[in-house]
């Protein structure tokens, strides 16, 4: 069984981003970039399925600027078998990403596609669901457990109020939540080995996809900063403040 995993190159989760002074966009020049944390979980899950003998091949895809190659090499070092880079300098929004992944899925015919549930830059949480719609396939979003069972996959989902388990016919799309697994640390020999794994290139034009953005960002701004309040010296003072000053209890 073949698994397709999509990975996004994003600003590292430890970086606090700033807006450009003209408010046109976020300033990502010279900041540390990493693989989206949810996508690392997606790669890890695919690798574990392969290690358990349930998957035969893992293809990893990334879409965007040239440096996405680095993200793909990381995924290869984690255990993916080969990579596809859809190279473009166009700003890619979730619908365009879903269309491009659909085009890749048409070629690769994976039985399972695993993606992160959201990217930590645009926080959209859309791509997996959109891809599932375009592939006319079922979706197991916000997964905390994935179990293959014959021609079906059982996915336990993190929902408001608890957990829900659904059974999906393959091919299916899974998007990862935080508790699905803990991604491995990549070891140096694996990084070296990953340099020899195949990395193919294509473009939105070659895939026949119009990747133009649909939403226009008019401006970005930093939110009003919440000011630090006061330190209270005792529990009694805290309760008095909450009762008499804040009037919330």
């Amino acid at each position: 069984m073949k698994i397709l995993v999509a990975v996004k190159r994003v600003v590292d989760y430890n970086v606090k981003v700033r807006c450009k002074t003209d408010g046109s966009d976020v300033d990502v020049a010279n900041v540390k970039m990493s693989m989206n944390p949810f996508d690392e979980i997606a790669v890890e899950e695919a690798v574990r399925l392969k290690e358990a003998g349930k998957a035969s091949e893992i293809v990893v895809a990334s879409l965007g600027v040239k440096q996405c190659e680095e993200t793909l090499r990381t995924a290869l070092a984690m255990g993916a078998d080969r990579a596809i880079h859809v190279e473009t300098d166009t700003e890619l929004q979730p619908l365009a990403v879903a269309k491009l992944l659909k085009a890749l899925a048409d070629k690769e015919q994976p039985q399972l596609v695993i993606l992160g549930k959201q990217a930590i830059d645009d926080d959209a949480n859309q791509t997996g669901q959109m891809l599932a719609a375009l592939m006319n396939a079922p979706q197991g979003t916000f997964a905390s457990k994935v179990e293959l069972a014959g021609d079906k996959v059982n996915v336990t989902r993190e929902i408001d109020g608890g957990l829900e388990t659904v059974s999906l016919s393959l091919p299916a799309i899974v998007t990862t939540d935080l508790r699905l697994n803990e991604p491995r640390y990549v070891k140096l020999p694996n990084i070296m080995a990953a340099k020899k794994k195949p990395l193919d290139k294509t473009t939105p034009a070659e895939l026949g996809v119009d990747a133009a953005p649909r939403l226009k960002t008019l401006k970005v701004a930093e939110p009003p900063v919440r000011k630090a309040g006061i330190k209270v010296a005792s529990v009694a003072e805290l309760v008095a403040k909450l009762k008499n000053e804040a009037k919330v209890i």
Partner: protein, 311 residues
């Protein structure tokens, strides 16, 4: 303009998130219709009909919609959506699961987590864990968006809209419901609570997380939340998580107990009216957003706090 709001419900009752979403629809302006898709969901539809400002409730009722699987609800929404200028759903796990699937089939973009409406085509949403606020404009014929419920007040009730039965489509046959494990609690829902007591890694065990925080939550009539660190460590169930990728909350009072205050956590609670932090590390980032900070060991401070509230 006419706006379709997708109701959040469990067939028997309507969830509060629907009321906030109707308010967002009112800010856009136009006729507001509410879709209730479910099974034996007449009670939820009746509740939706009572929301002030709702002109009509559409009820799609069938066995295959009982668990509101995205594969089965999507065709119902797609069919309806072409008659509307806007389709709104709350940014809950249900809305987030469903709406992008609808958007892709309509070939339109989705605007996620809208926190303000500027005009009929321009909306405000947080990105980068709320560290940046973006204003975006959509040129699509139908605007699809999920609404951050904490950013809009609940719509009033007292309306009396008509309920109209609509076609429920058929079972897509690609997915089925297996089981559900809901956290049982007599406490208020996290998303709707006026007071939240939230615990972090400093609670140090699942046993202590519950034994220390529950009496305080009970005393205050509060919901219980948790930081990602506490959930990852297994001290609290996943649906307690407050933060960028968990629940976004904005209660009147947020009591952060033993939470250091990573930016991903702050993203989920910084719009709370009053924030209290109890932490023994006086350098903890949580104090930078707290209205009242108490530098103390939580294991002594929380029992003292309960005693003081009992006075």
């Amino acid at each position: 303009m006419s706006i379709l709001v997708i109701a959040e419900h469990d067939n028997g009752s309507l969830k509060a998130a629907t009321l906030n979403t109707v308010t967002a629809a009112q800010k856009i302006g136009g006729d507001i219709h509410v879709l209730v898709a479910g099974h034996n969901a007449a009670a939820a539809a009746q509740a939706a009909a009572q929301i002030a400002g709702v002109a009509k409730v559409l009820l799609a009722d069938a066995t295959h919609l009982g668990h509101q699987l995205a594969e089965n609800v999507t065709p119902v929404v797609v069919e309806l959506a072409r008659g509307y200028s806007h389709v709104l759903a709350p940014a809950t796990t249900h809305g987030k699961n469903l709406l992008p699937r609808v958007a892709a089939l309509l070939d339109v973009a989705q605007i996620s987590d809208v926190i303000a409406v500027e005009s009929a085509d321009t909306f405000v949403r947080p990105i980068y864990a709320g560290n940046v606020i973006a204003t975006v404009q959509s040129s699509d014929a139908i605007k699809l968006m999920t609404v951050r419920t904490t950013a809009f007040d609940a719509a009033a009730t007292g309306g009396s809209a008509a309920v109209e039965n609509i076609s429920a489509g058929s079972d897509a046959g690609k997915s089925s419901f297996v089981s559900q494990e809901l956290t049982k609690s007599s406490r208020p829902e996290l998303g709707a609570a006026k007071i939240i007591v939230s615990g972090g890694r400093a609670l140090a065990s699942s046993e202590q997380f519950h034994s220390v925080l529950e009496p305080l939550a009970d005393k205050l009539g509060a919901a219980i939340g948790a930081s990602r660190a506490a959930v990852d460590a297994g001290y609290a169930p996943n649906d307690y998580q407050v933060g960028q990728t968990g629940k976004i909350v904005a209660p009147q009072l947020y009591l952060a107990v033993g939470i250091s205050g990573a930016i991903q956590h702050l993203a989920g609670m910084k719009d709370s009216k009053v924030i209290v932090a109890i932490n023994k590390d006086e350098e903890a980032p949580i104090f930078q957003v707290a209205d009242y900070g108490l530098v103390a060991d939580l294991f002594t401070a929380v029992p003292e706090l309960i005693a003081e509230l009992n006075k």
